[in-house]
């Protein structure tokens, strides 16, 4: 039996995995001092909390919601005019002392790197940061109305993230980068593929390009439709698109981009992670997804951006059903 890491690498490289990579099982996720210092995300907050993150953005986590949201009323939105971003946007600290890294490093040392991948967690990404600073509506209008300022701000964020990744790699020597940036709704991308290529692709080529040069596997989360962005994902160096929703027609994507990228997800939280979930419904959906997508370049799992679910028990039920389907789909 292959280790979890070996099984992942076989899947990514078109080899001979002996079972499904089951959701997040090969990834040992670490929260580093930088992201903990910035705060304002699901792992530093609990439902009911409100925090101001390291960028100055007020973030609240409503009771019962699956994650936190930036607050964008007039009182809290921090960037009202994108052309003034240099006066407003101040990047948080990324350099921490060896002493401040000591706990994280000690935890990393306990990981059996033959079995699992030491994985960093970065969120929110460059596109999401833009709409943390200002409302989604204003930000998307600015792509047309103030393109130069948006380009400048994205360049600034990409350079900051590159330095951030350098620090992560220096201290953690990660095997994988798990990076969040939602690029669409369940039916469409937020911006056109052409606009994405112009504004977003160059930034990620810089950041992911560096991480890949350092030997990291790139796992990108976008729980959305993004089928039309797959060519850009490949170009920027993404190895695994995590969060691929069923609306993307994943079987067709696997066929079209065979060997160039692996799709992770397919089991939409919107379908199974609900108040009325049952084991039978989950078993049926997992079986459908596994049979439709096959075993090559596909990792079945929930589309949510981390190991867990909104409703207690759903993640565990999904992973157990994936194990059941492994027995069937990988039977010799």
């Amino acid at each position: 039996m292959l280790t979890k890491k070996e099984n992942l690498l076989e899947t990514l490289h078109g080899g001979q995995p002996d079972r499904y990579v089951n959701s997040f099982e090969p990834f040992e996720l670490f929260l580093d001092p930088i992201i903990m210092g910035i705060g304002g995300f699901a792992y530093t907050m609990k439902p009911g909390d409100t925090e101001v993150n390291g960028w100055g953005v007020t973030v609240c986590y409503p009771m019962g919601a699956p994650g936190p949201f930036p607050v964008h009323d007039q009182e809290h939105v921090i960037l009202k005019d994108v052309t003034k971003w240099k006066e407003v946007i101040k990047a948080p600290k990324i350099v921490y002392s060896d002493e401040e890294w000591a706990d994280t490093k000690a935890q990393i040392e306990k990981v059996d790197r033959n079995d699992k991948l030491v994985t960093t967690f970065i969120a929110p990404g460059i596109f999401e940061k833009l709409h943390y600073f200002m409302s989604m509506q204003d930000m998307l209008m600015n792509f047309y109305e103030e393109p130069e300022a948006v380009h400048e701000l994205i360049d600034f964020l990409a350079d900051w993230e590159l330095e951030y990744c350098k620090e992560l790699i220096k201290h953690m020597k990660p095997d994988a980068i798990f990076h969040h940036d939602d690029w669409g709704s369940q039916l469409s991308t937020f911006i056109s593929p052409e606009m994405f290529e112009e504004f977003i692709l160059p930034a990620y080529k810089k950041v992911y390009g560096y991480c890949k040069e350092q030997g990291c596997i790139i796992v990108h989360h976008s729980d959305s439709f993004a089928a039309t962005l797959v060519p850009a994902m490949i170009e920027m160096g993404i190895d695994i698109w995590q969060g691929a929703m069923s609306t993307n027609n994943i079987p067709e994507l696997i066929k079209q981009y065979y060997g160039k990228i692996t799709f992770m997800g397919g089991i939409d939280n919107g379908i199974v992670d609900r108040h009325d979930w049952t084991r039978e419904k989950i078993a049926k959906e997992v079986e459908r997804v596994c049979r439709e997508n096959g075993t090559a370049y596909f990792i079945p799992g929930l589309t949510m951006g981390g190991p867990g679910s909104t409703y207690e028990g759903v993640y565990e039920a999904v992973t157990e059903e994936i194990d059941r389907m492994s027995q069937i789909m990988f039977a010799k």
Binding site: P66, S185, Q186, F190
Partner: protein
């Protein structure tokens, strides 16, 4: 190209800086305000269809809506007091526990562009607030409730049932990522729109416009 055709094109392509002047020129040339408004409404219908079919994306829809609002600003003083173009008032909000606003805002733009007077209740709106808004505003013919999370689907149900309980004849339309026609039927909504592009057509159908 006629002035009205030019206005239609400017709205569809989101040329907000040019629309106001074009509308004024059309008025000066003798075109009727209602005809110009109808043309812009038709343009937004085209924009909605293109959005639903994936031909255009959120930014293109936003700049088109902004262009239309610039044109409407020129027409407003002329059409003031003329209620003939209004389809009535629609109250809209994202339901309790949910802070998503972009989908709601797009629907508001599309409904406003098709002739509804919109009352935006914002996000995280409790069921009772929808009911209060129906009471506080004139000529409310439709309530639109948005819910983007599986966790807020019960809140969507509560909103619809609270509204229907207080105003049994009030028409209610629902939408949002986890919502389906089946779920809309189950919770007693009168209609469901799968995306912002199709929301205006569905809303008009529900109220019989």
């Amino acid at each position: 190209m006629s002035k009205i055709a030019e206005i239609k094109n400017l709205v569809e392509t989101g040329k907000s800086k040019k629309v106001a002047a074009a509308v004024q020129e059309a008025l000066d040339a003798g075109d009727k305000a209602q005809d110009i408004l109808d043309a812009m409404i038709a343009s937004m219908g085209v924009v909605g269809d293109k959005f639903s079919s994936g031909e255009i994306f959120v930014p293109e829809m936003l700049i088109a809506a902004k262009a239309m609002s610039k044109g409407v600003e020129v027409l407003k003083p002329i059409m003031a007091g003329d209620g003939s173009s209004s389809l009535g008032t629609c109250v809209m909000g994202t339901v309790a526990g949910d802070l998503h606003d972009i989908g709601k805002n797009l629907v508001i733009m599309m409904l406003e562009s098709s002739g509804f007077d919109m009352v935006d209740l914002g996000v995280d709106v409790p069921a009772e607030k929808f009911v209060a808004a129906i009471k506080e505003n004139e000529n409310v013919v439709l309530v639109a409730c948005s819910g983007l999370l599986t966790t807020t689907m019960p809140a969507l149900k509560e909103a619809v049932q609270t509204i229907k309980s207080a105003y049994p004849k009030m028409k209610v339309i629902v939408g949002g990522a986890p919502v389906t026609q089946e779920y809309a039927d189950e919770i007693g909504a009168d209609g469901y729109a799968p995306d912002a592009g199709s929301s205006a057509g569905k809303a008009k159908e529900i109220i019989g416009a």
